[in-house]
């Protein structure tokens, strides 16, 4: 057996492929579900926290800053394990799917908050003043004038961070969420062949190359010159 044949046999075995493609596909579906839930809730919560922080209320801002710093400093894997094994001991038992979703959404929210907050602070004071001088209130100015600019300013870091964190859905494998990597490693151990890992890798590429392309499109679409 040549080295090439050996490689094909181990990593691209058609029989193994035929046997396991359905479970990898199921894994893709789960990955998409978690990723979508994480993106929507994480970005939503991040923007909401940044907006809340703009009101400058000390009692609200201190917890926000602590939350953000903790989740940015903690490795997501550690957070996933801690939540999965720790929460039941304080009487909260969530499915592994829910734990993964919750942790990744909170991590994304923490990064998104910092990015959007940076955008809010770099929005020129004149924007606030112009809006307030036409009778718009603080909340209206924040929602209609400042946040749209802050978010646009944050689009490049937000897209790369969103992609990085949605790829972390692979961490679900350590707590038994049936996503791509979990299906692939299970199939690998049943079959004693590495083909499912290759299928998993391809599955990630199939899912995330369009996401990366979409991110690039969004960055171009929302870039606008400052007057």
């Amino acid at each position: 057996m040549t080295a090439w044949q050996h490689f094909v046999e181990t990593f691209c075995n058609p029989q193994i492929f035929a046997q396991y493609w359905a479970s990898i596909a199921r894994g893709m579906l789960v990955t998409v579900e978690i990723a979508a839930a994480v993106v929507v809730t994480g970005l939503g919560l991040g923007v909401a926290l940044a907006g809340l922080r703009a009101y400058g209320l000390g009692l609200v801002n201190a917890p926000i800053v602590i939350f953000v710093d903790l989740l940015r400093a903690m490795p997501p894997l550690a957070a996933v394990l801690l939540a999965y094994f720790g929460l039941p001991s304080i009487g909260i038992s969530l499915s592994s799917f829910a734990v993964l979703w919750l942790v990744l959404a909170l991590v994304l929210a923490a990064f998104a908050e910092e990015i959007v907050w940076a955008g809010i602070t770099s929005t020129p004071r004149g924007q606030w003043e112009a809006a307030r001088s036409t009778g718009l209130g603080f909340s209206q100015t924040l929602a209609l004038v400042v946040l749209p600019q802050a978010i646009r300013l944050g689009v490049p870091p937000l897209t790369s961070r969103t992609i990085a964190i949605t790829k972390n859905t692979a961490l679900g494998t350590v707590i038994g969420v049936g996503e791509i990597l979990n299906q692939a490693t299970a199939a690998q151990s049943f079959s004693g062949n590495a083909t499912p890992l290759m299928m998993g890798a391809v599955a990630y590429l199939v899912l995330f190359i369009p996401v990366v392309a979409l991110g690039r499109f969004i960055e171009t679409r929302f870039r606008w010159r400052r007057a």
Partner: protein, 262 residues
């Protein structure tokens, strides 16, 4: 056009003593930390009057305008506008600012909105007009500043003069009682100044009450009813343009005017 004063203020005290006074500033003081920028300033503006405010940089001119609509919080003194005490604690500032248009040196257009979007934002969200109604009003305001064809343009696609005219339209669309102009032409290339001054001239002809902080003395001579010279947080001298520009009595006014006229 006149705003119902009673609906805004908590107290509804009478404004200044002068007949037809729409805006009365009394003993206005403003400190930034230890720096006293306004040191007790009195000013009464009559309806339809164009008051020109001149003075050296950091003399307090802009701070005066910004205290009048409380973008800056005055440290002392009072401002009455149309029978309402602006400086009273319970005053509904958002309601008040609807009837005081403000135009800034740096235009401050919203970069993520078209010219029409800039003009209609407050119409929709402050005056609560429907989108169609707001757009009709917005287009008419843009027509007033001769920019009907730029409704769909974004600020970065416009020249400085056009941007400033959009900013004026944004304020005018709310049908204000008074317009505050804070160095409206200072950020413009010289050849674009004329288009903005033309708009001010048009407003004057329509009887708009205006406070204009500017160094455009030639325009002041032609259009202002009164020139107020401010230095070091106080009004040093005021009077009709002919008096202030041709025969200033105070030596500081004389030096400043001479410097600008060179």
């Amino acid at each position: 056009m006149r705003l119902n004063a009673r609906s805004i203020g908590p107290s509804g005290q009478a404004a200044g003593a002068s007949a037809g006074a729409i805006l009365t500033v009394a003993g206005l003081r403003k400190n930034f930390g230890r720096t006293e920028v306004l040191k007790g300033l009195d000013l009464t503006v009559i309806e339809r009057e164009l008051v020109f405010i001149i003075g050296p940089s950091s003399s307090g001119k802009s701070t005066l305008l910004r205290c009048i609509n409380r973008l800056e919080e005055p440290s002392g003194g009072s401002v009455h506008f149309d029978g309402v005490e602006v400086t009273a604690p319970g005053t509904d500032l958002n309601a008040l600012r609807r009837s005081m248009g403000m135009v800034f040196q740096s235009f401050n257009l919203y970069p993520h909105m078209t010219a029409l979007g800039n003009v209609t934002l407050a119409l929709r969200h402050v005056l609560k007009r429907s989108r169609a109604e707001a757009e009709a009003m917005g287009r008419s305001a843009l027509a007033d500043v001769d920019l009907s064809d730029k409704a769909a343009s974004y600020p970065h696609e416009l020249s400085g003069g056009q941007q400033q005219r959009v900013a004026i339209a944004r304020a005018l669309a709310l049908d204000p009682e008074v317009m505050l102009f804070d160095e409206p032409t200072s950020a413009l290339d010289p050849e674009l100044v004329g288009s903005v001054l033309a708009v001010l001239r048009g407003l004057k002809a329509r009887g708009m009450t205006m406070l204009v902080v500017s160094h455009e003395l030639r325009f002041a001579r032609e259009a202002a009813d009164r020139i107020v010279f401010i230095d070091q947080g106080r009004i040093v001298e005021e009077g009709p343009p002919s008096a202030i520009l041709n025969a200033p009595r105070n030596s500081r006014t004389r030096a400043f005017v001479a410097e600008l006229m060179r």
